[in-house]
């Protein structure tokens, strides 16, 4: 309830950006059609995948699996607007990415998209609290400190607010990363092997947390994994193989 208020406050205080205007009739947050990626090189370049289409609804959880080198990370960065497809179009939250400049993409990310990485990617000079707060400050949240504290508590790091990444275990660092990812209340969360650097037990705890928040906040989850048990818990599983995407 408190959260909802925070979100409402924010949309009242801020001038609404173009991305706040979702099409009400469709529930889709991500629609990609006819994606093709070829890296330039000799012999016509290196083709990674062809004619891939994905459709993701709000709150859905999707796992992308596939052998190493298949192009999973490449696909993810294209879906998130970090990289350009060679062909095809992407619509994020009803907004076409084609022709969107760097600035607008940055704004889109800070308001609606979060990432979780295999290697945590926290800023080493900042405390856990500062790391989370930073994302909120970039977003322009009215109460970044309060919100950051709330989210750290929520991932079970009440005692670790003032610790720097070097003072925390891998699992704890990933929790900070998850707190940072959810604190901005994104519509979409991309994760590239979030448990890749963790042992099984810690990995499971992290996954539990991810899905819990995915349920509670209705955040669309798109994650890459090699971990079969993690893939199993997602609503949909897509396999990238030989440049084709198959729904399993």
């Amino acid at each position: 309830m408190e959260l909802l208020h925070a979100k409402l406050d924010r949309s009242n205080n801020q001038t609404p950006s173009i991305f706040d205007m979702q099409t009400p009739e469709s529930n889709a947050v991500l629609i990609a059609t006819g994606l093709n990626k070829t890296f330039p090189g000799d012999h016509g370049g290196l083709n990674i995948f062809n004619n891939i289409s994905i459709h993701a609804d709000a709150g859905e959880s999707i796992a992308i699996i596939g052998p190493s080198g298949a192009g999973k990370s490449t696909l993810l960065s294209i879906l998130a607007g970090l990289d350009e497809p060679s062909q095809g179009s992407i619509e994020l939250l009803g907004q076409s990415l084609t022709g969107l400049d760097e600035e607008s993409r940055a704004e889109l990310r800070s308001n609606h998209i979060s990432f979780v990485f295999q290697s945590f990617q926290l800023l080493p000079e900042l405390t856990a609290l500062d790391n989370v707060q930073l994302a909120l400050e970039i977003q322009g949240h009215p109460e970044p400190l309060k919100q950051a504290g709330y989210w750290l508590n929520r991932v079970g790091l009440e005692q670790r607010h003032q610790h720097t990444p070097a003072q925390m275990s891998g699992g704890e660092q990933q929790r900070v990363a998850i707190a940072r990812a959810f604190a901005t209340e994104p519509s979409l969360l991309f994760a590239d092997e979030p448990t890749g650097n963790l042992d099984d037990k810690t990995g499971t705890e992290i996954i539990d947390q991810l899905f819990e928040l995915n349920q509670q906040l209705n955040t669309t989850l798109i994650l890459i994994t090699h971990d079969a048990s993690l893939a199993q818990r997602c609503q949909r599983r897509l396999q990238l193989h030989n440049g084709q995407l198959l729904e399993l």
Partner: protein, 820 residues
């Protein structure tokens, strides 16, 4: 993200960056650049203010006319017509003596009103503007050197003066060498009685004028229309600097010394920024991933750089002011007038220079940071930077050149410096690297490590060249600076032969000839006494010089001022006749013997006639022979010597020189007592005064050298650190392939020791070239080699690199531990 939050983040990051080597190196480079530039600018300004700027309070007037003759009545009449105030000053060098001490000093005889501008401050303060007749005011340095106090009586020529006050500061100290000697101020009325001013004595006459600006400008314009070669004008409204030869040279030496330091700092800033920025790619990608806009990333890093710069600016200014106090106290003791405070507004120069360097050099790395693609976070390999294009590199080099040119005030100097630096690095690097493969093959014969080394030498050729080039240049410049500092003055002194006279006696009047010869003979000295007559060349082969000589020839000193002429029956023993024959003792003709260099400059041949004007009379003489003169012999030497008959009727004084050993010091006091009007010049005091000045300046430049050295060592460390970091991966690979960690470490050490050794050897070659050029081209000293640096430099290079490797290894190992 709001600006305040951006600043906060920048602050936090800068603080934590302090732990990283590259951020520290960057800050240190900025600090060094700021300190060097500020210090040099302030020091230069101080020297300029102290010695060459003609402010009214330095001149003691608005306009000063100096001459070797008293001012003409006409000039005074014109000044009166323009309602200018004026006063006359006579200045000359003479020996002062007390019972215990004699001292070469500069005497100023003045008349009231004096000075016309500025203030003469004395201790105790005096009620009269100038000393009363019979009294004198002495500069504090004079009192110190003679070991006397206010109230003592000292002798000058035939008179004695009671010192009634010490001069704290005084305008109108004169210029050139005279102004370096400690000064004594006496009343003009007493001058006659001292009998030191005789026809033929070397005296400076100055007339000071003051008035309104239009009056002064008009008068100066009138005077400058027909200035004689002996006359000089100094005006507060004109911008011709007073010549202070030695000091101008010294301060340009200081600037060149600092230029190298600045270039090193520029290089350091470039390299540390590059390292810094590549260490920031991941962080920047992450910030962008969180939604920070590229422009904001750029701003964030700009703010960080500005933070770093402010820190360097504040610290650098403080340090340079402390250094200035140090040099101030070094120079204070030799400049009797002391150094004025510099214009502290100029302390902005250093910070501005380093800011300009930082922005020029830093712009493209910052741009790269802000443009780093976010997807790099998903793939490790993509966070490398794309290198700069050649046009971008050239632009940066050019802009750096412009910044440095601004600082030096000369585009040519900056261009030459940059081209020389880059060129030398390239050439030295390529040459030195030729030495590596044979060395590798040689070592390979003895150990397995040697074979691995050979592999590495082949693989790292490019990097080795750059490293060798930079290191060789660095060592070469540092050692040449050190060598020239310690060596040049000493060598110049050693050049002076053992029996070189150290006492000159001038202004000997004809009636003193006999008693003086007797006096000297009794003391066991039998020096020659040479007559001296002053005159100028007016005609060459009965034509005006302007009609027969080229413009360059007309610039020759001998045509622009009065010459010291002499006559002799026999050729001087220390001169050698190289063309023609010396005349018979009793020749009735007007003949001259011409010094070789003068004969060449004016194109004089045997049999040519030269016309002279001596004491207002015309005289013509024929060139009978040409002589070679060793000017460094410190004996009286003359460009022109006449046959005895020719000179008979002219007023003349005599000059002689001899050598006194330390124990004979008594003799010179006795001499002055018996012949008070003579001017005795103790050459060793003179040389001491000059070389003390040089030594102090060299000490001041050692400070700069120290700063340069810091920059250099930092640079070496940075390069090593960078290299070792890259090696970590390669070494891990070697270890996987079966080497032990100890072996890879020994391999690194061996490689760097070899690099150090090679660059040291290359540096020795470069240093010989540089010092050779300095001593041969600048000082005309014969070339000598320095075997010591052939041993020392390679060893130093070896030691620096080995130590650097050990330090960097420890640090990177430590960091690696922290990171995992």
């Amino acid at each position: 993200m709001r600006p305040k939050q951006l600043i906060n983040l920048a602050l936090k990051q800068s603080r934590s960056d302090l732990r990283t080597f590259e951020w520290r190196a960057l800050l240190l480079a900025l600090l060094l650049a700021t300190t060097l530039a500020t210090f040099l600018t302030l020091l230069g300004n101080q020297l300029e203010n102290g010695l060459s700027r003609q402010s009214a309070s330095v001149l003691g007037a608005d306009l000063t006319l100096s001459d070797s003759k008293p001012v003409s009545q006409d000039d005074i009449a014109t000044a009166d017509a323009l309602k200018l105030q004026h006063t006359k000053v006579v200045q000359f060098s003479s020996m002062l003596s007390t019972e215990e001490q004699i001292l070469l000093s500069s005497i100023r005889a003045v008349e009231a009103p004096y000075p016309l501008r500025g203030e003469l401050r004395t201790d105790p303060p005096q009620s009269t503007p100038i000393p009363r007749p019979g009294t004198a005011w002495a500069e504090q340095q004079l009192l110190q050197r003679m070991g006397v106090e206010v109230g003592t009586t000292i002798s000058l020529g035939y008179s004695s003066f009671k010192i009634t006050a010490a001069i704290i500061s005084s305008p109108d100290r004169g210029n050139g060498f005279r102004s370096f000697s400690p000064q004594l101020l006496i009343n003009r009325q007493d001058l006659e009685a001292t009998r030191v001013v005789q026809p033929g004595s070397r005296i400076g006459y100055r007339t000071l004028f003051s008035g309104t600006e239009p009056q002064i400008r008009e008068y100066a314009a009138q005077l400058s229309e027909d200035l004689t070669p002996q006359q000089r004008l100094w005006s507060v409204y004109a911008d011709q600097p007073m010549a202070a030869g030695a000091l101008t040279n010294a301060s340009s030496f200081l600037r060149m010394t600092s230029l190298f330091g600045l270039l090193l700092c520029g290089l350091l800033i470039t390299l540390s920024l590059r390292r810094y920025s590549s260490a920031q790619y991941r962080r920047s990608a992450l910030l962008k991933c969180l939604g920070l806009k590229p422009k904001q990333v750029l701003h964030l890093y700009l703010i960080k750089l500005i933070f770093g710069w402010s820190l360097a600016a504040i610290l650098g200014s403080l340090i340079s002011i402390i250094l200035l106090q140090l040099t101030g106290s070094l120079l204070q003791t030799i400049l009797p007038a002391g150094l004025p405070a510099p214009d502290y507004r100029l302390s902005a120069v250093g910070p501005l220079l380093s800011l300009a360097l930082l922005l020029v050099i830093g712009f493209s790395p910052l741009l790269q940071i802000s443009r780093i693609p976010v997807m790099g976070l998903l793939r490790r390999d993509q966070l490398s930077h794309q290198g700069l294009s050649w046009p971008a590199r050239l632009t940066i080099l050019l802009l750096t050149g412009v910044v440095i040119a601004f600082y030096l005030g000369s585009a040519i100097n900056a261009l030459v410096a940059i081209l020389l630096t880059v060129g030398t690095i390239l050439v030295a690097g390529v040459f030195a690297s030729l030495f590596l493969p044979p060395a590798g093959r040689f070592l390979a014969r003895y150990s397995r490590l040697g074979r691995l080394l050979g592999f590495r030498i082949r693989q790292q050729r490019q990097w080795h060249r750059i490293q060798l080039g930079i290191m060789s240049l660095l060592l070469a410049l540092l050692s040449s600076l050190l060598l020239s500092q310690t060596e040049l003055v000493n060598r110049w002194r050693e050049q002076i032969p053992q029996d070189t006279p150290n006492q000159f006696v001038i202004n000997i009047q004809p009636w003193e000839l006999e008693p003086l010869s007797e006096f000297l003979q009794q003391a066991g000295l039998s020096p020659n006494l040479y007559p001296m007559i002053r005159g100028r060349i007016t005609l060459i082969n009965d034509q005006l010089p302007a009609d027969v000589l080229t413009p360059e020839q007309l610039q020759h000193n001998s045509l622009r001022r009065e010459l010291n002429l002499s006559w002799a029956a026999q050729a001087p023993k220390h001169n050698q006749v190289i063309a023609g024959k010396w005349w018979p003792t009793d020749t009735p003709d007007n003949l001259i013997s011409v010094e070789q260099e003068l004969a060449e400059s004016l194109g004089l041949k045997l049999g040519d006639t030269v016309g002279f004007e001596i004491a207002g009379q015309k005289l013509s003489a024929t060139v009978s022979n040409i002589r070679q003169v060793e000017w460094r012999s410190f004996r009286p030497n003359f460009y022109l010597i006449f046959s005895p008959k020719a000179m008979e009727q002219y007023p003349q004084t005599y000059i002689t020189s001899f050598k006194l050993s330390g124990e004979q010091a008594e003799l010179s006091r006795e001499l002055l007592k018996q012949f008070p009007a003579l001017t005795l010049i103790d050459v060793s005091q003179w040389i001491d005064q000059a070389s003390e000045l040089i030594t102090r300046l060299i000490q001041a430049s050692t400070l700069i050298l120290g700063l340069t050295l810091c920059a250099g060592l930092l640079l070496v460390q940075l390069l090593l650190y960078q290299e070792l970091e890259q090696r970590r991966h390669e070494n891990a690979l070697l270890q996987v392939l079966g080497s032990t960690p100890g072996q890879t470490r020994r391999l690194d050490l061996l490689e760097f020791a070899l690099l150090g050794f090679t660059s040291g050897a290359m540096a020795a070659v470069l240093a010989e070239i540089v010092t050779g050029l300095i001593s041969y081209r600048l000082l005309n000293l014969p070339l000598i080699l320095h075997p010591s640096i052939w041993v020392l430099l390679p060893l130093t290079g070896c030691a620096v690199f080995t130590l650097g490797t050990l330090i960097s290894r420890r640090r990177s190992g430590y960091q690696q531990l922290r990171q995992t």
